[in-house]
Amino acid sequence: MDELEKELLDDFASSSDEESQHDGEKNEFTSDHQVTLPESINKADSGVDSLESRIEKIIKQNAHITVEERLRQISLESVEDITELSKIKPLIEELKGRLDDYSREENRDLLDLLSTADQQFKSKDNSFIFLMNELTQVIQQEISLTHSFIKFHYKVVFPELESLVLNPIDYCRVVLIAKNDLNNIKAHEEVLRVFLSNEKVLVIIMSASQHAKSQFNLSDRDLVFILRACDLLLDINVVLERITNLMTSKLGDLAPNVSSIVGPVVTSQLIIATGSLKNLSSTPSCNIPALGVRDMSSSESTRKETRQTGYLYHSELIRNLPRDVIKQALRIVSGKIVLAARIDLAKSLPTGEIGQKYSREIENKIDKLLAPPERQEDKALPAPIEQKSKKRGGRRFRKMKERFQMSELGKAQNRLEFGKAEETMTNSFGEEVGIGMSRGSGGRLTAKMNSNTMPGMSKAMKNRLQNSAKITSNPLSEDFESIILNGSDNNVKSSNQNEGVLENTKWLGGMSKRKNEEPTVAIKKTKL
């Protein structure tokens, strides 16, 4: 493992911020995913029994409780020593020892054999890994709980620190360094630089020096409790790291397909970040690049193209890619990771062959992304051969052109007789217009008017009008109307005698009026 990986392992707890949001749903999964140890193994080793059963008990207890609920149960003000409440603290030393034992074990082949030979009874090794896998959730809960305790009590000393350093582990380290006197924080600059970026260190020192004047001094007792909590948090983090290391080394059994895509380190990081393999398989692939992002609010990340600098971003697969393909590569890889995680969960392919297939696919895709765009050959220009247009105008086009031509009259009007003053007339707009040669003596037109510009009617229109004329001349309809109208006429006549009926027949009177106009229209139509 090189330095970066180590650093990443340190960052595990950073995901606990996001974890706390998801805890609710996660616990639903875990409740039906409890790992129970085979009886025979439990009995065989009584010393081990106690630890594992205690872990199981804790997991069961925590299965349905979210961090928020626990925070509500224990009001932070009343609690003085969070370390007493910690469920994991009594187990830490024992756990460390066990984890060391497991990671030191060389005879994994035998255990593998055992586990493959008998599916019913998982090997001790395997079951322990599964147990650890479950435990990581509890540990992360514990971390965020302790973190909120420290935040709550340390706020009086340095309120801005929690917004400056979001990562709980880094926060604790800063608290351990700064303690009660913010004035001297500058002296520890070198130490801060080890785990924080230069930019962050500068900001912390600046704001600390500002707060130093109005600083509230904690009593020694309170400070001891805070520092103890910090120690606890770091201790728990160490356990988490150990678990990660163990899982990394044993992931061949847990998630062979996923680890053959992104390698064991990233696989374990992802599994721990989501909580379990089951959770990983049910995570949407678009969320996977965001797992393990150290600090969402950092200004550094916005400057880069990709903001999702999580575990996957730092994986061997992605890290060395050029910037412009990273985003796409992240998408490709995370999609395959989720698929592989589902296969691993189903345990249908324990050899990891589908993972290898996926990784080959990913390699191909990334290669294609990296390939330079194909050079386009110069396209030969078409030979500039001019062809005569095959289209001729036709009668309709000629007529159309004629309609826009200048009329004979217009041409004559523009012509002037030589040696004579032009006569003028006022047109309908009141403008003076020269007559030119358009009129002879006595104002007679010399040229014909342009007949093409006259409004005409299309054949279809003529037909339509003829048809409508026929309908109006239909004797039946005429009779019908005349009957009504005659009747109305009678009514009108009678209304002269009877005033009460007048209103009743008013509209008929109107109709008769229309009838009187209609015949003239009909005559016009028939003419057309």
Binding site: E377, D378, A380, L381, A383, E386
Partner: protein, 143 residues
């Protein structure tokens, strides 16, 4: 560089054959010396457009020292001369420079050269012996 990739005509016979054999394309021949500055620039231009105009023109290079046969006939005294032929006929083009027989000045733009070749091709297709260049180069003429 361009001179490396474009086909060279090494003898008078080759030049004749190149002009004779092409039936429906313009033949563009650059007469000059590969090592001269103006020739290099012109070759670069010609090479740049060779692929684009291949539907209606072929481009050849000819060294006037290697093939001196045409020097007196075509008056090839300039460092770089480009001449156009269509179906064994010499095509003239009025560039506004006074010399309609050949293009003996440098052109700065590829598109301009393409336009000239296109115009000559159009005229040649219509059976004209002289066409007018799309641009007037009278002011750009070298002294």
């Amino acid at each position: 560089m361009g001179s490396v990739f474009l086909p060279h005509l090494h003898t008078g016979w080759h030049v004749d054959q190149a002009i004779l054999s092409e039936d429906d394309r313009l033949v563009v021949i650059r007469f000059g010396r590969d090592y001269e500055r103006e020739c290099m620039i012109m070759d670069e231009l010609l090479f740049g457009i060779a692929e684009k105009v291949k539907n209606f023109a072929t481009i050849y290079l000819c060294d006037i020292d290697e093939v001196p046969d045409f020097n007196t006939m075509y008056e090839l005294y300039d460092p770089c001369t480009v001449m156009f032929f269509y179906r064994n006929k010499h095509m003239m083009c009025d560039f506004g420079t006074g010399n309609n027989n050949k293009l003996n000045f440098l052109i700065s733009d590829k598109q301009e050269l393409i336009d000239i070749i296109e115009t000559i091709y159009r005229g040649a297709r219509k059976g004209k012996g002289l066409v007018v260049s799309p641009r007037d180069y009278s002011t750009r003429r070298r002294p």
